[in-house]
Symmetry: C2
Subunit: 432 residues, 2 copies
């Protein structure tokens, strides 16, 4: 099946950066982009889609989230962090069944597809149910079973999470023609023993895997690590061998310049989560400095319980403005930088070399944005318009691997009403 998008603006890439094509054509053959240009292609397509007044952009990559936590959206808003976690979040998480995880994941997929997200990196539990939901929905995801342990005497191989992580890796890594990738994961330094961190690094390296961690999300976490180990979380993970094969670290708010040099040396990607960092009072990650050092930076929503949505347009908006406010410099973190973080940056953190930009030969992971709304008029500068003016709801189509999964409020692989019914039943039980 070959599909040609006609008369559309295209946020294309040419290797050096974005190149905006006005009123052009983008061809999809199978799961791949096979044409981009201002002229109608000579090749024949089975179908055409008139996209006048719309822009095609690379599908967005939500590079750090906890999808099933959509079931906990809005729980205990505005409590102090510890009270929120221990009194509200953890007791509910302890009651979550595998069916709940499926319902929560599907709710997240509905939401992410509706705002142009084609791939996400998740960290949660009962992961096979998430994997099955993603496979069925046609999306892409990097999944992991995070390891944690508070018992210094426990043998790592006896930790049940290690077994689950390996089972997940063997069962799902590369599933759905590579739509699912399974990462390794340590939840965080403060929830893990040193032997387990070292063991996880070894497992990951042996499989040339990708390691997903939380790192220096708060000053407290960062300083308590230094008090405990005489080194920062970044150095602790490095010394445990967790950055030897490939890794990405969420938050990185309280990081030092030395930490950033560790990331550069070990090729660790940083995932910026601006809404979560603001809402929970964690602070401002030094994102411009990361970019200036040449680090790869992706963008994530974190879980819906600390956001409270999975809307990457909001993350782009926050990323583009809050650092100006904090540093007093309105010229930093330009729209193109932010768009790159939300697309190619995330795809690279996921180690997906075949997506994250609109270029011939890349997978057809595409979002279409309707530019006809009053708040998107006039349109001088497409990246600025997308980052500063657009809402997630301006997305009118989301395509993954050449297949349209969402268009104008309708889903092709997910049953919206059925998911919402399941979610409401789960919520009624969980919060009874």
């Amino acid at each position: 099946m070959k599909l040609l998008f006609c008369n559309c603006d295209i946020l294309a890439s040419d290797g050096a950066g974005f190149r905006v094509i006005r009123n052009g054509y983008l061809g999809v053959g199978g799961d791949t982009i096979d044409y981009i240009g201002t002229d109608r292609p000579a090749a024949r397509y089975d179908a055409e889609k008139d996209m006048r007044g719309k822009a095609l952009i690379p599908g967005l990559v939500n590079a750090h989230t906890h999808a099933a936590m959509c079931l906990l959206r809005g729980v205990g808003s505005d409590l102090p962090l510890q009270q929120w976690l221990f009194d509200k979040i953890f007791p509910i998480e302890n009651r979550l069944t595998a069916d709940d995880i499926e319902a929560g994941t599907n709710l997240a997929l509905l939401e992410m597809l509706a705002c142009g997200t084609t791939s996400f990196s998740d960290m949660y539990f009962q992961v096979p149910r998430t994997a099955e939901a993603v496979l069925k929905a046609g999306m892409k995801a990097n999944l992991c079973r995070p390891l944690q342990s508070f018992d210094p005497h426990e043998r790592p191989e006896d930790n049940f999470r290690v077994g689950e992580a390996l089972e997940l890796y063997d069962g799902y890594n590369g599933a759905g023609n590579g739509r699912i990738l399974v990462d390794f994961s340590i939840h965080a330094e403060y929830t893990c023993t040193q032997p387990l961190a070292e063991y996880a690094g070894k497992l990951c390296s042996e499989r040339r895997g990708n390691m997903h961690v939380h790192l220096s999300e708060t000053k407290k976490e960062h300083e308590e690590c230094i008090a405990r180990w005489g080194k920062t979380p970044a150095a602790w993970f490095r010394d445990a061998g967790d950055f030897d094969s490939g890794a990405f670290a969420a938050h990185c708010v309280a990081v030092t310049d030395d930490d950033l040099r560790i990331f550069r040396e070990k090729g660790v990607s940083v995932i910026h989560n601006p809404t979560s960092n603001m809402k929970l009072g964690s602070g401002f990650a030094p994102v411009q400095k990361m970019l200036d050092m040449g680090l790869n930076v992706g963008l994530g929503t974190d879980g819906a319980a600390s956001n409270n949505n999975l809307n990457l347009f909001e993350e782009m908006h926050l990323a583009a403005v809050i650092h100006n406010g904090y540093t007093g410099d309105p010229t930093i973190l330009k729209p193109a930088d932010v768009l790159r973080m939300a697309t190619l940056g995330g795809a690279r953190a996921q180690r997906r070399a075949d997506t994250g930009e609109l270029r011939v030969g890349k997978k057809a992971d595409i979002a279409a944005v309707d530019l006809s709304a009053p708040h998107l008029t006039p349109d001088f500068d497409l990246p600025a318009l997308l980052v500063y003016s657009a809402q997630g709801s301006d997305v009118c189509m989301t395509m993954v691997n050449g297949k349209i999964l969402y268009e104008n409020g309708e889903y092709t692989t997910l049953d919206r009403e059925r998911v919402l019914t399941q979610v409401n039943a789960a919520v009624k039980r969980l919060y009874a």
Copy 2:
């Protein structure tokens, strides 16, 4: 005409604060709310509207903007402030005709109505064209002709803007049954002479008017004022008599505790503009401190050139999270505080005692939010859902004085296509 909204959630007020009514009824008689409750009212209504799955909230008040600047949306994004103003914005503003002001205002009205805004406070020029557009569209607005002068020898009564301001006041204050209110205005301390500020204060006080100013938007402005006059902008305005009758001050980022005490003593409202303050690198206004001192605080988008939209849902979202990030305290600026700023706070700054909350006897200025979207599920806490999870596009109806002006993408008083055509023609000419 009496209209009954049925089966809706209602963000009502009871004097002490918000009171969420689930699955209730709200009656509108003429331009006024005449019933709110969980039971069906005994009175007879001419028509009913089933609002199942929707919430009625007070119409939002955009308490500081420059509506017609929608024509300059996205111009010169990410330039340093002075370069942006002098190289990009001012040259275009110098070319704006009265027709352009009408087109730009109508674009702003389309955008504001689509995200639940029922009233706005504007500061710009060619104001009669804005007034006529607002009257025709059925919205509410506080309009002003800002005064400025750089010539210390100029007699204030010879300043042409003074003439325009008085003509505007005489011609439009109270027009449309009070939908238009005309305020007095000094653009800012740094663009005004002391004699003109004193003269403006006198004109305003004589008419018991309301004074709209920019104040301490940046540290630079604040400190240069102190260097010039030996006092802060707040003290300078107070001493010129500009706060004697009623006033509201936009931005107030670099204010001191003494400035806040001046505001309290003189009853000056503060208008918080979080996106603009972030995007332009101005910084963090001490909003929680203002609320703790009992000041009235409203919320504004500022003009679209420094935002780049007029979406108060985005302002609410930013206001609710950025101060947590800046102070490290996740418990400040709660959703109800932020919603109050965006509704009652703005209405009070506009000196409209008859609106800003859903209560029997208040004007029927109402927005309806469709809660059925995946990103608004589950719904535990309506204020948190509106502030943290909702998008402006979740608004499905906007009513002003009992008249529906917007519903499900359609406008009843504005011709969307005609406005967009006018805007695109103006843009083509202005940027040729």
